[in-house]
Each structure stands twice: as structure tokens, then as C-alpha cells.
Symmetry: C2
Subunit: 222 residues, 2 copies
DNA sequence: AATTGCATGGAACAATGTTCCATAATTAGC
DNA sequence: GCTAATTATGGAACATTGTTCCATGCAATT
């Protein structure tokens, strides 16, 4: 029989717990991250986890910081300042695409440290690209809002398409639910239904970024 | 003694339940909306509610649809097509400011009917303002992403500032947590810390909209 | 060697969304 | 007008969750 409360050889640690949480989130989704599942994966009890971590919120914030931090460190350097902004935002986008729960968490808690890093990354690159100081805050905020919305969107998409579900069919059903039997009330949705079903998310994301950056150029010129 | 399961004179109804839910959400916040609180407010049991509504998700979706629908109906008409877009987006923004839980719910479930209405409203006004058909979908998507990010942001702000908390102090503490003791790592955040603390959310929101609309004009011209 | 603090893990607790069910009031069928 | 079926009701019961408590033993310090 096993003695109670033995000291483990592979000691628990905050980082180990975070890694296990990320593993669960990635493989089984956001709903699967429970303290019981986490305890099972770490072969311990729920109480032991709480000695290293104060609550689930801290765990999620740390997991997001881990993923976003890595994404930001891997952003390629670029001589072109505008290209650097695009690279940064695409890096975050790709990280969310690979770990959709990150999108949910960023949208739920936008003031967590990871958002500070993103904001700093955007703002410093805006400054480097010649945006006047008076416009940097507004531009960086707009880009952060935009990426936050995209994050929420991607996370919801991943939740709705759990296992290689047919994306086109799902988006088609979304349009059908919206429009219902009253096509007349949704002329625009109806006219872009095809694009809605078949568009490339990454290209669309980048298109929005370019729209904002183009607006910045325009405002600077005038 | 009370007989069991009498029929009420003021019959329960889906709309009545939704109204009660909105009342709780508005006055006591998102965390306060439980089926027990709802049952208490309606002077019934949890089971009775489930006869009218399938689950909490449907309730929240209906509550959001109610608030957003009213906001969209109250958007002022405008001869100026660009002004009409601004008016629509500001209407949604103000509705979220008045009912911050709407922001949380839109971010969690971006494919709910309310988002369809917003998307349609934006798109049809873009079309009316002369945006070529080939760019309407991208532009509308960008604006939807932007407003979704702003919605998540405003909801989080309301959650963090429960009762006339000092907004400036809170935002200052956010910056302090981000930067920590390493100012050198956050030159941009440090440089805009003042604006972050004191900015006007509504003006900032509108600024982002104008940035995107300006980008649209620029892309159309070139 | 004794004491103090660190860590562990399982049991217990409170809260939540949801389901079940006994029971009435209402409606439909004859 | 009676009976059967349907519509509503509301409270109890259930499963699951995050979290707290606590008995236990290991490690370091005195």
C-alpha cells in the first residue's frame, strides 16, 4: 500500500503545472481544463496544485503569457518597419490559431501581461515606422482592439469546429441562421454569403491590418 | 399552507424571463445571473424557467439580441453615408457601455444573431457609401473585428471597475503591473502611460473607426 | 535530536447548471 | 359535461466545478 503524502521525486512546480495545463488545453480544449483533470495528468491531488498556484485565473494568465511570449520572441526582425508590424501581428494571429484558447483568454482578461507585451510590440514598431508621437497611442489601441476581436473570433471558430468539421458547411449554417427565411432583411449578408463561407481567415486578418495601416498613412499625409 | 405547483396569475414567459435576466445583469453584473437568482426574482423555481428556455446560453443570446436590436433600431438615419456608419457603430458602443455584459457575450459567441444584425448594418451602409463590392466584405469584417475587440475591452473594464472605482488609478496600476520594475523593456507603454490613464474611451473608439474608414478611402483612391 | 516550515494529496464544501418528478391548471376529444 | 392529454409550475435531487481543509510526512535548521 502507498503511504500518504509522500514527497514526490519529480517535484511539482509552477512551470510544470502550466505546461500540463497547456497540454490539456491544446489537446482537449478549454472545457477540459479542470483541476481534477490537471491533478490526474500530474498524478497528484487538487490540493497540491493550489500550493503552487493561487487559482485558475493565475494559471490561465500564466499559460497565455507563455504562449504569447514565445510567439513574440519568434517574430522575425525586419528592416521594413511596416513589415515588422505585420510580422508581429501575424505572429500573434498564428499563435492563437495554434492555441485557440489563448484568444478566449485574451478577450476575457485584456489587461493581463501578455496584452502589455503585444501593446508594447505594436507601439514601438509604430514609432519606428515614423508615426508621429501624437498618433501612436490611438493607432496602437486600434490595432490592439482589432487583434482582440480577431482573437475572440478565432477562438469561437475553433470551439465551433471541434474535429475537422466542415468549415464551409458550418459558416453556411451561420448565414442560414442569421438570414432565416427573410432574405430581404439581409441583402448585404446574402450578397457576401459566398465569401463568408469560403474566405481565408489569415488573408482576411491581414487585409484588416493593411486597412488600418493605410488609414494611418493617409492621416499622416493630410 | 401553500398548495404545490399552482398556476400563476402572472404567467411566466420567455420575454419576462429575458427581461428579468437583463435586470440582474445590469444591476448586479454578469456573475450574479444564476438560475437561482433568476428564480428568486421571478418568484418561482429553477425548473419552471427551463420549461420556457432551453439553457443559459439561449437566455444570454436572447438578452444580447434584445439590447443590440434596440440599439440598432435607434440609430439615427443620416444622409451622409459615412456618418451613418459612425452612428451605427457608436450606437453599438453605447449599448455595450450601458450593458457591459453584452460585450462579454458578443466576444464569447460571435456568431449569434445579434452579430448578424451588426454585420448587416455595417455592410449595407458601406455599400451605400460607395465602397466597391469587391471590398465590402473585407471592410465590414475589419470593422466587426474592431468592434468585437472594443466590446471585450469595455466589458473587462466594467468588470474591473465595479462601483465608481477610480478609473485613472486602475489604469495606472495596469501600467505598473505591465512595466514592473523594468521600464527599459517598455519604452512605448511608458511614453503613452499618461494617455492610457486619462484617455476618453468613446473618442478613442471613434478614432479607430475613422482610421479604418480612412484606410478604405485610401485603398479606393489608389 | 527536536522543531519548524515545506509539500503533498485526498476528503470535504459551497455554488452552479441542469434534470426529474409530483402536481395542478388548462385544453381537447368525445 | 366528463375524461384524457397537454401545458406549466416549482422544488428536490444530481453531477460537476473551483476551492478550502487537514492529516501526513519529508527536508532543513537549530
Amino acid at each position: 500500500m502507498t503511504k500518504k503524502s509522500e514527497r514526490r521525486v519529480d517535484a511539482l512546480s509552477k512551470q510544470g503545472i502550466i505546461d500540463a495545463a497547456i497540454g490539456i488545453l491544446d489537446s482537449d480544449g478549454e472545457a477540459a481544463l479542470t483541476f481534477r483533470a490537471l491533478a490526474a495528468r500530474l498524478m497528484t491531488g487538487a490540493g497540491a496544485i493550489y500550493w503552487h498556484i493561487s487559482d485558475k485565473d493565475e494559471l490561465l494568465v500564466a499559460a497565455v503569457a507563455h504562449v504569447v511570449g514565445r510567439a513574440l520572441r519568434n517574430v522575425a526582425e525586419s528592416n521594413d518597419a511596416r513589415g515588422a508590424i505585420r510580422a508581429l501581428l501575424l505572429g500573434v494571429f498564428d499563435a492563437i490559431e495554434a492555441h485557440p484558447w489563448v484568444g478566449t483568454q485574451l478577450a476575457r482578461e485584456p489587461w493581463q501581461p501578455a496584452m502589455g507585451h503585444v501593446f508594447e510590440g505594436i507601439g514601438s514598431r509604430l514609432a519606428a515606422s515614423g508615426v508621429p508621437a501624437s498618433r501612436q497611442f490611438e493607432a496602437a489601441s486600434a490595432l490592439v482592439n482589432y487583434i482582440l476581436g480577431a482573437a475572440a473570433h478565432r477562438a469561437a471558430a475553433a470551439r465551433a469546429l471541434p474535429r475537422g468539421t466542415d468549415r464551409t458547411a458550418f459558416l453556411g449554417s451561420v448565414v442560414a441562421r442569421w438570414v432565416g427565411d427573410d432574405i430581404g432583411a439581409y441583402p448585404f449578408v446574402h450578397s457576401v454569403a459566398g465569401q463568408l463561407r469560403d474566405h481565408d481567415d489569415r488573408a482576411q486578418f491581414l487585409g484588416g491590418i493593411d486597412l488600418i495601416l493605410a488609414g494611418l498613412d493617409w492621416q499622416i499625409v493630410t
